[in-house]
Symmetry: C2
Subunit: 331 residues, 2 copies
């Protein structure tokens, strides 16, 4: 068996080999057929990992809070994994990026697996690579996966909200809660943290958050708690943990966890399909056949729709309308 064979890497990772786990995550990060092969093997072995997303503006203290949650989990005998997802960074793997430094408390702890993720060549981007990475960690037996998103763009928010429990971090100060609302963070938070609560303005920020929560739709029977922390001094971390844990219990007991995961799976399959097809479309749009069609298009000897028929066929995609297309609203 070859050393980098996904099957043997996975077996090694399940026995606790951190190097094998890291190599599997690198494969996933690069995407393409090898990543699919890893996913194929990992998926049936998983099902026990619980994911916690941690998001908020840069500088809010996400890494320090993640650090605190790691400490709580370690004290309970858990061996958590952390994915630090940074769409803006080309670095990944073992690289210690900016905030990662603050997680060094646990850098030498064999029970904690910390990994930075960047998009690299993955065609579906990090929004697709992250659940794939979670699946590998799940198959390797990690029961808790903390997903910290660095930055606060659309992709980061999407990734954080795909977690089972999403923690949104704000700081005290005029308008911070309002900013969080504007960025759509209020809709995705299951737990809110006002970190750096030793600063002025905590009460106002809490009032703002609670008021906005009063107005939002709590369809799933869960009112997101607002926890004040000073993560740098480990204050409030136990309360944060308690909030995360009771959200987990709520999801499990209500059956919402299973429903959410079932829905998410559909979305993931759809994303996998789109990423695979997008790759093919990119390939035909860069080939020599395309150049010829492009010249004819520019001369208006053909049109973009006839060209799209030819290119679909070239990509192994039947250009004839399927039932799905026929079902579209008629013109």
């Amino acid at each position: 068996m070859r050393r980098r064979d996904p099957e043997s890497l996975l077996a090694a990772a399940r026995r606790g080999d951190r190097g094998a786990l890291a190599r599997l995550l690198s494969i996933v990060e690069r995407g393409g057929p090898p990543a699919r092969e890893v996913g194929r093997l990992a998926y049936p072995l998983g099902g026990t990992a619980y994911t916690v997303g941690i998001t908020g503006a840069p500088g809010a203290g996400k890494s320090t809070l993640t650090n605190g949650l790691i400490a709580v989990l370690r004290s309970r005998g858990e061996e958590p994994a952390v994915l630090a997802v940074d769409p803006s960074s080309p670095f990944s793997g073992g690289a210690i990026l900016g905030d990662r430094v603050r997680m060094q408390d646990h850098a030498l702890d064999e029970g904690v697996f910390i990994r930075s993720m960047a998009s690299r060549g993955h065609l579906g981007g990090l929004a697709l690579a992250t659940p794939e990475a979670v699946r590998v960690l799940d198959a390797a037996g990690r029961r808790w996966v903390l997903i910290e998103t660095v930055g606060v763009g659309q992709v980061e928010v999407e990734i954080a909200e795909e977690a089972d429990t999403t923690v949104v971090v704000v700081n005290p100060g005029w308008g911070d809660a309002v900013q969080a609302n504007k960025a759509g963070l209020l809709e995705i938070g299951d737990v809110f943290v006002i970190n750096k609560a030793d600063r002025d303005g905590v009460d106002q920020t809490r009032r703002d958050l609670e008021q906005m929560l009063d107005l939002s739709d709590l369809g799933e029977g869960w009112r997101p708690p607002v926890v004040a922390t000073v993560a740098a001094r480990q204050e409030g971390i136990d309360e944060l943990w308690e909030a995360v844990d009771s959200h987990r219990r709520h999801l499990e007991q209500s059956g919402i966890l299973a429903e959410r995961r079932a829905r998410r799976l559909v979305e993931e399959v759809r994303e996998i399909l789109l990423a695979r097809v997008r790759r093919r479309i990119d390939a035909v749009c860069e080939g020599p056949a395309f150049e010829r069609l492009h010249q004819r298009l520019l001369a208006r000897e053909t049109d973009p729709y006839s060209v799209s028929d030819e290119l679909l066929a070239a990509a192994g995609i039947d250009p004839e309308p399927t039932a799905g297309e026929a079902a579209a609203p008629a013109g």
Copy 2:
């Protein structure tokens, strides 16, 4: 020949029938095979329309400026068309939306064709429907198409920057130029307008804009001019027109217009392909076969990648890796 037959509608629109033109745009807006048929017929008939995109924050005065440009074009004997693109609105067609009211100066002028566009059912969204609508207006003989985007999200910016000349509108006041820069507007503007220039802060805003332009890459040999206007009083509109027209001459004489349009055409073909494939993928992900696979997935009897193979085949897409996939970085 049926009354709503695309071919006869197009012939009527070319003879100046505004109702036929409106019906063609409705077909385009709804998307699907009928929209493709319209595009197929319209594309070879076009090639003379010049597009001007007008974008900026809500309330900046885009509609009033558009109104002013219409007046200039009418005084030169042109018969311009206006597309008011609003991704956030479900209304389209003849509906007079908010700002549209300000264009009523020209509402009774048969020489001006004004149309609101909303996304409706178009699967590629307005980013795909807008160039399709331009193609129809082009085929119908409109030599100038003004594309005003309502709002300032990512889609609006994308649509505006696809125009031949993009006009970015800001207002005087502290930080407005900086905001435009943050939103990526500085990169896409070919002409900048400081509208409401009777207010305080025009000089500072102009300095901010010029300073930021000093730092940006003017790769195409064009330094975007900054024009001050008070659109509500028609002040500065002639200068704006002069700026737009000299940008057009620059693009034409340098050959950049032809290059840009050739590149845009490639992008459009790619978007058409993606929209067609996305529609199919949505269809298979909603079908009864999917439900069965979903249950097996939840039971972990299969995995998302094997399921994606089956679904691709069901959608008429060959799941075997093509040259494009094989060329991806190996894991």
